[in-house]
Point group: C2
Chain length 153, copies 2
Amino acid sequence: MSEDTTAREACDLGWSIAMLGRRYAAIVDPVFETFPRGARGYQLLHTVIHKRIPTQNALADYLGIDRTVMPYFVDDLQSAGFVQRQDDPRDRRVRTVIATPEGITRYQELSQQVLRAEQAFFDGIGDEDRAVFVHSLSLLARLSRDDTSSRGR
Amino acid sequence: MSEDTTAREACDLGWSIAMLGRRYAAIVDPVFETFPRGARGYQLLHTVIHKRIPTQNALADYLGIDRTVMPYFVDDLQSAGFVQRQDDPRDRRVRTVIATPEGITRYQELSQQVLRAEQAFFDGIGDEDRAVFVHSLSLLARLSRDDTSSRGR
DNA sequence: TATTGTTATACTCTATAACTATA
DNA sequence: TATAGTTATAGAGTATAACAATA
């Protein structure tokens, strides 16, 4: 086996990952055109609906955005009527972000459009390859939580 | 986990892709700490070594960076002695970016470190799943070219 | 007129520092 | 002292507009 081939694959992986993200955004982002904070705002709404993450800091960590920009996201989604802050009686510093019924309805509409857009995104590879890809992708993405904390250097 | 997953998977895919990119950057980017323009600069060097892309505009398009920032990339890599601009006698507007011997040497050093870092990135999934994943990833990433530009290859 | 390369400018997104109120 | 939330500011990265040289 030649070293040249392996070395070539090294950077193509970085390029492929960057391209994948750009292509996904190019196809799916139009769905979020009228939604506050675009794709990130939608992901925030998705998260507060499906996961139970009590604090805004933990939410920011999960979504990979800085703690200091989280208030702006919550403000915008709250102004639009999709989420609201809920005081935690057990810890009065905490304001848990929860979705409003309006937010849930809007989310359900958007998620349908996202699904359609994602079918276009996967147009070009077979259903079986797609399933295997999504499985490995999900696995590799979820590793990051364990990685960033323990496997630093 | 198998019932109501259609709507849920919709956003998790976007989250997973974003997370994948962040995790890859977190693990691999330290390699490029001392390299001009970091990972993007390395990808530029990789591209001019392995592909023959004549114009800086086409290079910018391939790397997914704006054409107006390309001169800064080339300037920095040229100052470091890794690339140089080569006049094209057939079209005197064009200055093709080519790697210097110094640049090729530096690239070979870096690509070895990238390979090691990428092994850590894939630590957690099997070799077979990795191969399938990289294949589909590469395929999906390359689709974008056919999408944005009308000509197929 | 269109394109290549380039520069200057403006804009967006993100990170840094500091403050408050709670624990 | 440490943490949750917030705000203001500075920085990095990106896009917009315009230019000279060439096709």
